[in-house]
């Protein structure tokens, strides 16, 4: 979307702009650290807000890796080949950002170690800690293993201009890869294990995040469908994020000949399937609650269908779910533009949906008092923007040093002959030192 191209200047401009946003986020956090959580819009009734929303949102975005890379790998969908690296890297970047948010939300982050020293196994937050850390490690491994052959290619093709430190890193991380059959077998087995493992891990992470809400007795939260709902929402937002990242970096790194409209059409199909599934889960949840109209759930339903949160809810349902699916499903031209529009709307809608889960659930009266109210302050908004900027920053820095497409996989799957010269453009700024 923004043509960085091979010129270093545009790369550095992007890095500076994104870093400034991230730095602003850091500043806002330090401000909060010094003064206390009263600088946020949180209060006694609504004690969870933007930070928890963002935690769920960003971890949800990381599901693109599991979906695109793992599931497509296991179903042997050949069209995945140019996309897996981008998807896996996005997953790790989004996960790193999302996993930091619970720390940002803590009232006493200086005591974060207590989570490791005195964990109580019955607590959903401990489940969260175990699941997210396991998933983070697994995502790193799942990113690294398919990277080994490409690192070997970097080791072999990049000349002395790449710098000694960089070449040493490539050599070390490549583990002596030569493309020999025995090595291929080892690698295939390792990647296969991780591909199988990362799917239940991904399911477990968002299920645990859902149970953070669903194991409380609050009307808007105590729903059995929360875990599947969250997992599907995460997959949806993950695939949408992958579409956006792939479209952007395809333009930036000039990968048009490898990633075509066909890929976007197939990704759109995935998006539509997940979106329709999500709609189904939503209907199931609201129908069962709205039919009985229990006193515990009815206030939340009223608030999101007709009340204070109705604008957000209908914007999400129509503009963030139905409309993008329709746009993506339309046949015809501009597949990439339609897929990107749909994805952007879905990502925005998914953030809104997380907001609609957290805030009305907290604001709903649990005692005979008034509804709670929540309005974020500049601290929360700045940290949100900073963390959102951190993901593209991490990605473009990562792809400065590592290939944006999995050469090995593309050769293996599509039989393309992609060595050397044709892959140099895959590096942002590669070969220009």
């Amino acid at each position: 979307m923004w043509p960085i191209g091979r010129g270093d200047r545009k790369f550095w401009i992007a890095v500076v702009v994104l870093s400034a946003m991230v730095a602003a986020g850091f500043y806002a956090y330090i401000y909060q650290l010094q003064r206390g959580l009263w600088v946020t819009g949180l209060n006694q009734k609504v004690s969870w807000g933007f930070y928890i929303i963002n935690c769920v949102f960003f971890i949800g975005i990381s599901y693109g890796g599991a979906m695109t890379s793992a599931i497509l790998r296991l179903t042997n969908a050949k069209w995945r080949a140019p996309l897996t690296r981008l998807a896996e890297a996005t997953a790790v970047a989004a996960l790193l950002v999302g996993a930091v948010y619970p720390i940002i939300d803590l009232g006493r982050p200086d005591r974060a170690l207590h989570l490791l020293l005195y964990p109580q196994v019955g607590s959903p937050i401990v489940w969260d800690l175990v699941a997210v850390s396991t998933y983070l490690v697994a995502s790193f491994v799942f990113l690294y293993l398919p990277l080994i052959p490409d690192l070997a290619m970097c080791r072999d093709t990049l000349g002395p201009s790449a710098g000694r430190v960089r070449r040493t890193i490539y050599r070390v991380l490549a583990l002596g890869w030569r493309g020999e059959p025995r090595q291929e077998r080892s690698l295939a087995r390792g990647i296969g294990i991780m591909a199988v493992l990362i799917i239940p891990l991904a399911v477990s992470v968002h299920s645990v995040l859902a149970w953070l809400f669903a194991v409380t007795a609050r009307g808007g939260w105590h729903s059995t469908i929360f875990a599947p709902l969250f997992v599907l929402a995460a997959m949806l937002s993950g695939v949408a994020a992958v579409i956006l990242v792939v479209a952007a970096l395809r333009k930036v790194y000039g990968l048009q000949e490898f990633i075509t409209a066909k890929h976007f059409r197939y990704l759109s199909y995935l998006l539509i399937a997940l979106g329709v599934g999500y709609l189904y889960f939503m209907v199931s949840e609201y129908l069962t609650e709205a039919y009985v109209l229990e006193r515990s759930t009815t206030p939340v339903l009223e608030a999101i269908f007709e009340g204070v949160y109705a604008p957000a809810f209908w914007v999400f349902t129509v503009g963030g779910l139905v409309l993008p699916l329709v746009v993506a499903a339309l046949p015809g031209r501009f597949a990439i533009a339609r897929a990107c529009t749909g994805s952007a709307l879905i990502i925005g809608g998914m953030w809104l949906k997380r907001f609609l889960i957290v805030v009305p659930g907290m604001a709903e009266p649990v005692m005979p008092w008034d509804w709670g109210r929540y309005a974020p302050t500049w601290v929360e908004v700045t940290i949100t923007i900073g963390s959102a900027a951190a993901i593209p920053l991490l990605l473009i820095v990562f792809f400065r040093f590592f290939p944006a497409m999995s050469v090995h996989e593309m050769e293996e799957v599509e039989g393309a002959e992609l060595r050397r010269t044709s892959m140099v453009p895959a590096f942002a700024g590669g070969g220009d030192e």
Binding site: Q44, H114, P119, G122, V126, L212
Partner: protein, 253 residues
């Protein structure tokens, strides 16, 4: 080559053992359960609130805030003005219910909230990390988060304990603890002492007695004769506060 391989291997194995040990450390820690009452005289604190006598003066709230140096937004015992289905209003004081099956106990990630042998749920503000999961889990809204430093006096030599959490610590959660720091000295809880209508009774389920400072009743009898109920007990929380239904009729002339 072999030497280097085994070093890498060893690092991997050590890493695996380390993380395995970390994960294994989680396993033996069980859910905290309320101590089963042993046969013998062990107290189990409870309260009875007579809604026929409450006039909504909120002296209980003020006394509690004064006793624990709380900010005005902290109403550990909060008096609700409730409107029933017919539109009639009555006052309902709500302390923490010290639930036998407390949701806040289960969800605390660091076991900062615990239940004493006498049934009171306390918060260790030295351990609390301020995640506020307990506040999300409490169905009675009885827990309060210290977004800021509490107002009040300086206590240079007093470090707050779970039994006497004064002053409150910023960034942690606090709640009504049946004034265990007073009851262990034989003093009535601050709210019971301050109630001018005698609507709040502090009681012991084991000794089967309750008093509001003036009159003393047999707890089980008082509850049964007045058809006392517990609030939202269908949630399975096992609250220890009994309400006698009413609308302040005993102080209306």
């Amino acid at each position: 080559m072999t030497g280097r391989l085994s070093r890498r291997e060893m690092l991997g194995v050590l890493g695996g053992i380390g993380t395995g040990a970390l994960a294994a450390g989680f396993a033996p820690i069980a859910f905290p359960e309320a101590d089963a009452a042993e046969p013998g005289p062990k107290r189990q604190w409870a309260m009875v609130i007579d809604l026929r006598k409450c006039d909504g003066c909120k002296k209980c709230t003020e006394a509690c805030q004064a006793e624990h140096e709380l900010p005005a937004s902290f109403e550990w015992i909060k008096v609700f003005q409730v409107k029933d289905a017919q539109g009639n209003e009555y006052n309902m004081p709500r302390p923490c219910f010290q639930c036998e099956n407390a949701p806040c106990l289960r969800v605390c990630p660091v076991a900062a909230t615990f239940q004493t042998g006498e049934g009171v749920v306390l918060v260790d503000q030295d351990r609390c990390i301020g995640c506020r999961m307990c506040m999300a889990a409490c169905p009675y809204g009885a827990r309060y988060f210290n977004y800021n430093e509490p107002p009040g006096h300086q206590h240079p030599f007093q470090h707050p304990t779970p039994e006497h959490p004064v002053p409150q610590q910023k960034g942690t959660v606090g709640k009504c603890m049946f004034c265990v720091h007073r009851t262990e000295d034989g003093k009535l809880p601050a709210c019971v002492d301050a109630c001018g209508m005698g609507a709040l009774y502090i009681g012991d389920l084991v000794e089967d007695v309750a008093t509001n400072g003036q009159e003393t009743v047999r707890l089980s009898q008082f509850i049964r004769e007045n058809d006392a109920f517990r609030y939202k007990e269908e949630l399975g929380t096992g609250p220890r506060v009994y309400y006698i239904a009413g609308h302040g009729q005993l102080w209306e002339s």
